[in-house]
Symmetry: D3
Subunit: 69 residues, 6 copies
């Protein structure tokens, strides 16, 4: 039954990394809640850094500031 | 008031099919809960098959396996 | 694969009505996109009317106004 | 058209505060994107502090630690 | 802690407008609920007008009708 | 930055199990994507079994059938 939604910034997450996240989350739900593998859905959404704000700023700008430090 | 979110894998769903989903869901909410058409929002999100996992595997890989059988 | 999320206001939706929504949406996805029944998840979330705003007002207040008309 | 979902921890947010959030967000979308009031939906979801984790810890525990400092 | 998700139709929202939405929502949560800036996440999702239905119709078609009036 | 939403059926998940899920997911995102612990939010939502449908049936009813077998 579990549905897990993972939102991350669009930072070039590789296919292999996505597979690791899917496998890891599905195994975790099996280990902790004994949820059947075949019933666990994992959906990864990649969000543009202009579209994700933290502390009132766009991630794009936060990273520009960080790269100047 | 209803907001309906439909997540499907990115498989070339046509404009016409999206219209059928929107119409069908809106009619269903009218029939079952008497919700006004003009208040029902339907949002369809198409997810890459690398980004949707089931049973610990990416849909892309599940489909490759299925096509070999 | 489809995951359908239906958000409605908490208005005493009955168990039977929920079953009709689940059945109807699952059938619609089979009819339009040929999605397998056993892979379609439907999640219904009931939201308090104080927590759902439209036009800048809480639904609770909108309904009070409507009942006075 | 806009749908805004606000997730906050269940901390006794009052009805009045919810109204302010709904009004404020709806006005913001009118001011910035000229979105019509009557089309803007705002949904507030209150999450138990056991169910919201940050930095690998439950909010309930984070707050206990903070109250000891 | 707050997570705010803003879904809008994909209508060429500019980077500057996104920044205003992020700033405005974060400030609102500070003003109303005294939520710390650095803990408030805002995620903006832009949805194709074919994928957003209202009143049983796709937004794309609604706008065509409106432009004829 | 990551926001992870875990939807499960309301089946008496304990506080300890929720802590394990939060810790495990946060660690996984650190291991796979090197995401900072203090930026990873995990939100667990528990859904009534009447409100979660699979294969066109409510989970409540699916479980009743399973218990008869």
């Amino acid at each position: 039954m579990p549905i897990v939604r993972i939102d991350v910034t669009r930072d070039g997450v590789t296919k292999e990394q996505k597979q690791q996240l899917i496998k890891g989350v599905t195994q975790l739900l099996k280990d902790v809640l004994n949820k059947e593998f075949h019933l666990t859905h994992v959906v990864i959404q990649e969000i543009d850094t202009d579209n994700w704000g933290l502390g009132g700023e766009q991630t794009t700008e936060i990273r520009k500031q960080q790269s100047k430090q």
